[in-house]
């Protein structure tokens, strides 16, 4: 599914990713943990094609195709979804309109028929209900005036609607109450399928109680320094990154 080899990238002339090697096979969920500033969000932006992140070496393939050669919207159409660490506000743009526009853009690119407002509403209601999210969320401006937790739920809602092949969740669990944490986990678990993979970036072991990862990677200073099973997350929670540093 996703194959990253020797990936290096800079931001504003400063090297942040210093050679990432990572493979996520189809159907697997991998967690990425690591201290603040280690490059986790940078990796997610590089994978999704954000401007300003200059790739200086390495390669990334997504189901065999060169991901780095694609525009961000092409990557989205191909099935890549990023749940933002800091979801962006779009004043005056209704959430329902935004979600429908996004869904239709992706459907169109995949050769599926577009949904009209009524059809969309039906689909959206189903997803809202499954995720225990209030319908009010559709009526408001995109992320405008949303609480931190509401913004994250909105990301999960979008993920559920767009049904991606690869979902990158960048600290979607940060700042969530327990109920919301379950919503996030349910969102990811509902997508679990042989053709679905996910990269879950998190600081906390508790999310991984709900989304049990196949592998846990530790990213430090722009490199993956350790990889293990779910028990690695527990170990990190107890002893912090110092032990990893020592081992690396």
């Amino acid at each position: 599914m996703l194959k990253i080899e020797g990936l290096t990238a800079e931001v504003e002339g400063k090297q942040i990713l210093k050679g990432i090697d990572l493979e996520v096979p189809a159907g697997e969920i991998h967690a990425i943990m690591g201290p603040n500033g280690s490059g986790k969000s940078t990796l997610s932006y590089v994978l999704s094609g954000r401007e300003g992140y200059e790739i200086t070496g390495g390669s990334v393939t997504f189901n065999g195709i060169d991901l780095l050669a694609m525009e961000p919207e092409e990557r989205a159409a191909a099935g890549l979804f990023l749940a933002f660490q800091y979801p962006v506000e779009l004043p005056g743009v209704g959430n329902a309109l935004f979600l429908r526009t996004a869904l239709n853009a992706v459907r169109k690119a995949r050769g599926e028929p577009e949904l009209d407002a009524m059809q969309f509403l039906k689909v959206a209601r189903d997803r809202l209900k499954a995720l225990h999210i209030s319908e009010d969320m559709l009526k408001r401006g995109v992320n405008v005036g949303f609480s931190g937790g509401e913004k994250k739920r909105n990301e999960v809602l979008q993920m559920a609607l767009l049904s991606p092949k690869l979902a990158i969740l960048d600290e979607t669990d940060s700042g969530l109450d327990i109920d919301a944490l379950k919503i996030v986990a349910d969102g990811v678990n509902a997508l679990r399928a042989p053709g679905f993979s996910s990269l879950v970036i998190t600081h906390y072991q508790r999310l991984l109680d709900y989304i049990v990862p196949d592998k846990v990677h530790v990213l430090m200073n722009g490199r993956i320094v350790q990889t293990g099973g779910p028990e690695l997350a527990k170990q990190l929670e107890e002893s912090g990154y110092a032990s990893v540093q020592a081992a690396a």
Binding site: G49, E73, L90, T101
Partner: protein, 499 residues
């Protein structure tokens, strides 16, 4: 390429490719000789078979105009206009005045069809008498249309139905013949002949436009709409619109405008006068889409327009909503003189300038009556090398006790070669009045664009979505059907091919 530069490119490639209304209609035209003098004024008046008083009125305007200087205070730049090098009268040749759309040149109708004008009543008018009683599209609010082609009104629809309610909706040249007393009573009472240079010019040579009269207590049962089309070369368009809403009446009126793509600049100097009496409401919406010129600023319409409303009656209300996407230069300040106690003035505006377009637009709210209120919401969007100026005046006379105004001016910049300017004048001479002004300037942020693109939207769709969001407060003031049109138009005026 950084997102912003790419967006500028996107936006810059727009005008050549995407002005979809730039075609020309090949039709037999009748012109007055080029140039402007008393004889031309007489010629126009004679063509329109006008009474002596109106000819005198025009000649007086012409005399005033000759003594006036073109205004230079607006933040717009253009080479001097040679007023002698233009035609002041151009009309499709027509043997008799058409009684129905049937008799109108099919080429003209095709033009309007291309413009997407809902002249759907064609079938009705062509068919059985009385068929006009049923709206053309079931469940849809019918729209009565007056179509003005260069200097003349070519067709007005739904007339019979409106006449039943006592509503007059026709070409102003026709109203001069059929209701001279009304025209004479109101013409020039809101915008006098000598009001400003362009208004004086218009008063001398105006050729057509719409006339609307809503009788006492009548709520106009449909949207009234006029489509203006400049087609002929080297021709100025000087239309004049007069709307009178009697006591307790209500009307919603919409104008739309387009022109062919030409290398030369063409002048459009309209005058619109609105009169609202006690408890009357006039909603006047404009979707202005004159040809804006090409990317280098060649061609395009000079849109120098005077629009003013008199809220003469108590509790009368006038609401201006404008979406200005076209024209090389826009010079336009739809205003309200709030004379009646408790009268209300509103101005909602979206102005887009792209490439070399320049817009100096805003409003004047003149508070005279007690407890008068006004609201101004202006959204300016500048892209390419566009220059966008909001210029507004809020004047509160000593008589306007407890008057209130709220003004909000927001500017959105796309790229770094465009400009946005806000010039609010406030003259408050009343102790008990309250005047508030808020202004913001922002850019489309890179993270907003990226967020949208990550969700699968193309860059141009993302820009369109964000711009529409920025304009929402104004767009929601438009009549439903036109709001959708306007949204598409905003998108089109900013779209282009990415990459």
């Amino acid at each position: 390429m950084p997102a912003v530069t790419e967006t500028i490119d996107t936006v810059q490639s727009v005008t050549e490719g995407t002005y979809k209304w730039g075609f020309e209609t090949d039709i037999e035209m009748e012109f007055a000789p080029k140039g402007l003098n008393e004889d031309i004024v007489r010629f126009i008046s004679k063509k329109k078979n006008e009474p002596q008083w109106l000819l005198d009125w025009r000649l007086k305007a012409f005399a005033i105009w000759k003594k006036m200087e073109e205004p230079v205070w607006a933040a717009v730049k253009y080479p001097p206009i040679d007023y002698q090098d233009a035609y002041y009268y151009a009309a499709p040749v027509q043997k008799v005045k058409p009684k129905s759309l049937d008799e109108v040149d099919p080429e003209l109708l095709r033009t309007y069809a291309k413009l997407g004008i809902p002249l759907k009543e064609q079938a009705i008018l062509a068919g059985v008498e009385g068929a006009g009683e049923t709206p053309s599209d079931a469940g849809r609010m019918p729209v009565a249309v007056d179509a003005v082609f260069d200097s003349v009104s070519v067709a007005t629809t739904f007339k019979a139905r409106l006449e039943k309610e006592g509503i007059i909706f026709c070409a102003i040249s026709e109203a001069v013949q059929t209701h001279p007393e009304l025209v004479r009573q109101y013409l020039g009472t809101v915008v006098p002949q000598g009001d400003n240079f362009y208004a004086a010019l218009n008063s001398a040579v105006f050729t057509d436009g719409s006339f609307v009269y809503i009788p006492k207590g009548v709520r106009c049962p449909m949207e009234l709409s006029t489509y203006f089309r400049i087609n002929a070369k080297s021709t100025g368009q000087f239309e004049r619109t007069l709307i009178i809403a009697e006591e307790g009446s209500t009307v919603s009126y919409l104008e739309g405008c387009t022109a062919p793509m030409r290398d030369e600049n063409q002048l459009h100097a309209a005058v619109v006068e609105l009169v609202a009496l006690d408890d009357a409401t006039i909603k006047y919406s404009t979707v202005q889409n004159w040809y804006p010129g090409d990317a280098e600023g060649r061609g395009g319409i000079y849109n120098f327009v005077t629009k003013r409303a008199h809220c003469r009656g108590r509790r009368s209300k006038v609401s201006w909503t404008q979406v200005e996407t076209g024209s090389a230069i826009t010079w336009k300040y739809p205003s309200c003189v709030l004379l009646g106690d408790d009268s209300v003035g509103e101005f909602y505006s979206v102005a887009i300038t792209n490439n070399r377009q320049q817009a100096d637009t805003g409003t004047k709210m003149i508070h005279v009556g007690k407890r008068t209120t006004s609201t101004i919401v202006s959204k300016g969007i500048s892209a390419g090398r566009g220059q966008n100026t909001y210029r507004g005046l809020v004047r509160v006379a000593p008589t306007a006790s407890s008057a209130r105004n709220f003004t909000q001016c927001d500017s959105l910049l796309i790229g770094d070669q465009c400009g946005a300017h806000t010039v609010p004048y406030i003259e408050n001479r009343c102790m008990t009045a309250k005047v508030e002004h808020e202004a913001t300037t922002s850019r489309i942020a890179e993270d907003q664009l990226f967020y949208c693109r990550q969700r699968g939207l193309s860059e141009e769709d993302a820009v369109g979505l964000i711009v529409n969001g920025f304009c929402r407060e104004v767009l929601k003031e438009l009549p439903m059907e036109f709001a959708v049109e306007a949204q598409k138009l905003l998108q089109i005026s900013l779209e282009g091919s990415v990459g």
